[in-house]
Every structure is written in structure tokens, then in C-alpha cells.
């Protein structure tokens, strides 16, 4: 069980690394939000579940923190994307379809 927990922690650390790389490399703010939020949400699930597996005393609080992150992280990302759209930040030039304006081709 301890080995399984450390495997989960290693997968989570790799996803944290990928989240930082996506934040640095993606072209505009919407792509950056998607890369950062999705990768770090999965990485957090994996790391916290791994800590709960290595030490079984920490498992109930670890599950509580997982449920909390699953509820709050997409809400924060959605609010931030909406704010970025409403203040008029342009997406990158390769964007084909804007669904908020009816889905027609730009």
C-alpha cells in the first residue's frame, strides 16, 4: 500500500510539472487556464490520495480536501475565464469559432 501511495504521488508530481509547462507555453489566456486548471486538478487528486494511502490516519481528511478541490477549482477557473472574456481580451489568431457570439466562424 505504501508503494502504491508513492506511485500516486509521483504521477501527481509529474502532472504538476505539466501544468506549469502549459501555463508557460500556451499562446493566450484561455488555453493557459485550461492547461493549468485541468492538469493541476488531476495532480492534486493523485498526490493527496497518495498521501492518504501511505499513512492511513490521514485518509479521511485527505478525502475531504479532494472533495473541496473538486468543487472549488473549476468554479474559480470559470469565473476567471468569464471575466477575461467580458473585459475584452482577444483569443489567439488561430481561433476559428466563438461560441459566445452564436458559433459562427470569425
Amino acid at each position: 500500500m505504501i508503494i502504491l501511495g508513492y506511485i500516486f504521488i509521483g504521477i501527481g508530481a509529474f502532472f504538476y510539472f505539466l501544468g506549469g509547462l502549459g501555463i508557460l507555453r500556451m499562446p493566450d489566456v484561455y488555453n493557459r487556464l485550461q492547461a493549468g486548471t485541468k492538469a493541476t486538478t488531476l495532480g492534486s487528486f493523485s498526490v493527496i490520495l497518495g498521501v492518504g494511502f501511505v499513512n492511513m490516519d490521514y485518509l479521511p481528511k485527505a478525502l475531504l480536501i479532494i472533495a473541496f478541490i473538486a468543487l472549488t477549482n473549476p468554479v474559480g477557473s470559470s469565473v476567471l475565464a468569464r471575466a477575461a472574456y467580458l473585459i475584452g481580451i482577444k483569443p489567439t489568431a488561430k481561433t476559428k469559432v466563438d461560441e459566445c457570439k452564436g458559433g459562427d466562424e470569425i
Binding site: 505539466l18 509547462l21 498526490v47 498521501v51
Partner: protein, 85 residues
């Protein structure tokens, strides 16, 4: 299990470094806030991992409170940016 701690902290350190670079040179405020959101979630997971390193269960409570405050911070700054135009 000492080598695994070093592997974890090297990988997470590169992730934190990349998002910190984006926070320094992001063109708009929304980019900086997106990098800050990512950084907060990474730090929440790292505080939970510190409970395992230092063998102290109190770090889980700290991680829970830190996650709550970081969520409030993200929503508050996003609403402020939205109202500013």
C-alpha cells in the same frame, strides 16, 4: 524514501518556476491571475505532502484552510477585474 522526496520536489519546483515566470511576464492581468490560481493549487498539494515529510497531521488542516482562502482570493480578484473594464 528520501530519494522520492527529492524527485517530488524537483518536479514540483520546475512547475512552480514556470508558473512564476508566467506571473512575472504575463501580458495581461488575467494571465497573472491564471498563473496564481495554478500556483495555489500546486502549493495546496505540496502542503499535504509536507504532512508526510514531517510526520505531522496538522499540515492537512493548514492545506484545507489554504485551499479555502485561495479560492476566495481567485473569485474576488476575478470579479474585481470584471467590474473594472
Amino acid at each position: 524514501m528520501n530519494v522520492l522526496n527529492y524527485i517530488y520536489f524537483i518536479l514540483v519546483g520546475f512547475g512552480v518556476l514556470f508558473s512564476f515566470l508566467r506571473m512575472l511576464l504575463g501580458p495581461t492581468s488575467a494571465d497573472r491571475l491564471a498563473a496564481l490560481d495554478t500556483l495555489n493549487v500546486v502549493l495546496t498539494g505540496t502542503i499535504v505532502f509536507l504532512a508526510l515529510v514531517f510526520k505531522n497531521g496538522l499540515y492537512l488542516d493548514i492545506a484545507l484552510v489554504y485551499g479555502l482562502l485561495s479560492f476566495v482570493e481567485t473569485v474576488l480578484i476575478a470579479r474585481y477585474l470584471e467590474g473594472k473594464k
